[in-house]
């Protein structure tokens, strides 16, 4: 058994180096990739999926599939984009995508009626984020996926397009609609 001694969180070992080692057979290098990208894949799957058991399954299956397939990974895309593409397919295949859920407007009303208040101030901070999560859940899955990948994961539109099997312009369109909807739903928080 190999000593899995790649530094888990070392920022100076880049993904490409770890992927090359993992491709050659080094499971420890792959485990470093798991630890590095696990949180991002988990937060994407959590917001895209209806229940926590499904999230756990999707994330685990994503990494198991990636380990099986890494021999074919040739760095045409980044490791991060490649992992998100596998994860996005697992989300769809799970048939447990969180559908767009219409919500009562009252649920995303601000706790304070003071229009000038900063939504991130004091107690309203967590309430605003809760409202944001509700509004995200209200978006159609594809719009939600594009918005999350763009705004939370900071991927480019071509990368998002590759992950979700869209054109870059299609990804831009979904993003624009998602952004507009979120703005409308959260207008009270201004």
């Amino acid at each position: 058994m190999l000593d899995n001694s790649w530094p888990d969180t070392s920022d100076d070992i880049d993904d490409r180096t770890l992927a090359a080692a993992a491709r050659a057979g080094d499971q420890g290098a792959f485990e470093s990739l798991v630890r590095r990208h696990g949180p991002a894949l988990y937060r994407y799957a959590r917001r895209m999926t209806g229940d926590s058991d499904a999230v756990n399954d999707i994330v685990q299956e994503t990494f198991v599939a990636a380990w099986r397939q890494i021999g074919n990974f040739r760095a045409e895309s980044s490791v991060r984009t490649w992992l998100f593409a596998i994860c996005a397919r697992k989300v769809v295949d799970s048939h447990r995508v969180k559908k767009a859920i219409p919500i009562d407007d009252r649920l995303i009303e601000p706790a304070s009626s003071d229009r000038g208040s900063d939504p991130f101030a004091a107690a309203s901070n967590s309430a605003f984020l809760e409202a944001m999560e509700l509004a995200l859940g209200e978006l159609p899955p594809r719009q939600r996926a594009v918005w999350l990948l763009r705004e939370v994961e900071q991927l480019t539109f071509p990368q998002i397009a590759a992950i979700l099997n869209l054109s870059p312009d299609g990804a831009r369109g979904h993003h624009h609609r998602a952004r507009t909807t979120l703005q409308q739903r959260l207008v009270q928080w201004r």
């Binding site: 090359a20 050659a24 057979g25 798991v34 937060r43 685990q60 984020l129 952004r179």
Partner: protein, 145 residues
């Protein structure tokens, strides 16, 4: 919030990005364990019998084991990073190893390539034994800072 004013949403995205994911922490070890249980197929490589004639049978090692040991051996040199390792075999006999490196900017790359080649030879001698006629090709194909 005026039309086109996305400040609050942008700030929310930044917050969502850094929120901890306790759910991930809860399953991280299980995910790693699942990966460890998942086998990957690799070609077998014949190993030189360290004590010929003392026992029947042949020894083989997976190319993935050799690849993992090569990657570990090459991981510590500050002048290069390994970007690809390929192992070629024919009828279970190792015949080639190809290593691609990204060299550190301004490093002495020919010397780094030679160090990498020498380490490869040591690993192969350790794992496979003394086999004639195989080639090691090490090249620096990229540069990084």
């Amino acid at each position: 919030m005026a039309v086109g004013d996305y400040d609050a949403i942008d700030r929310a995205a930044r917050v969502l990005r850094v929120l901890p994911e306790p759910g991930w922490r809860a399953i991280e070890d299980d995910v790693i364990a699942a990966v460890r249980r998942t086998p990957r197929g690799g070609w077998p490589l014949l190993v030189e019998d360290p004590s010929p004639g003392t026992a029947e049978g042949i020894l083989r090692v997976s190319e993935l084991v050799l690849g993992a040991l090569l990657s570990r051996a090459l991981a510590d040199d500050p002048d290069y990073r390994v970007t690809d390792i390929r192992i070629g075999s024919e009828e279970a006999v190792l015949h080639s190893i190809s290593i691609e490196l990204s060299g550190r900017y301004l490093a002495d790359l020919p010397a780094a390539v030679e160090r990498a080649r020498s380490l490869c030879e040591d690993v192969v001698a350790d794992v496979i034994g003394d086999i004639p006629g195989f080639s090691i090709d090490v090249s620096a194909t990229d540069v990084h800072r």
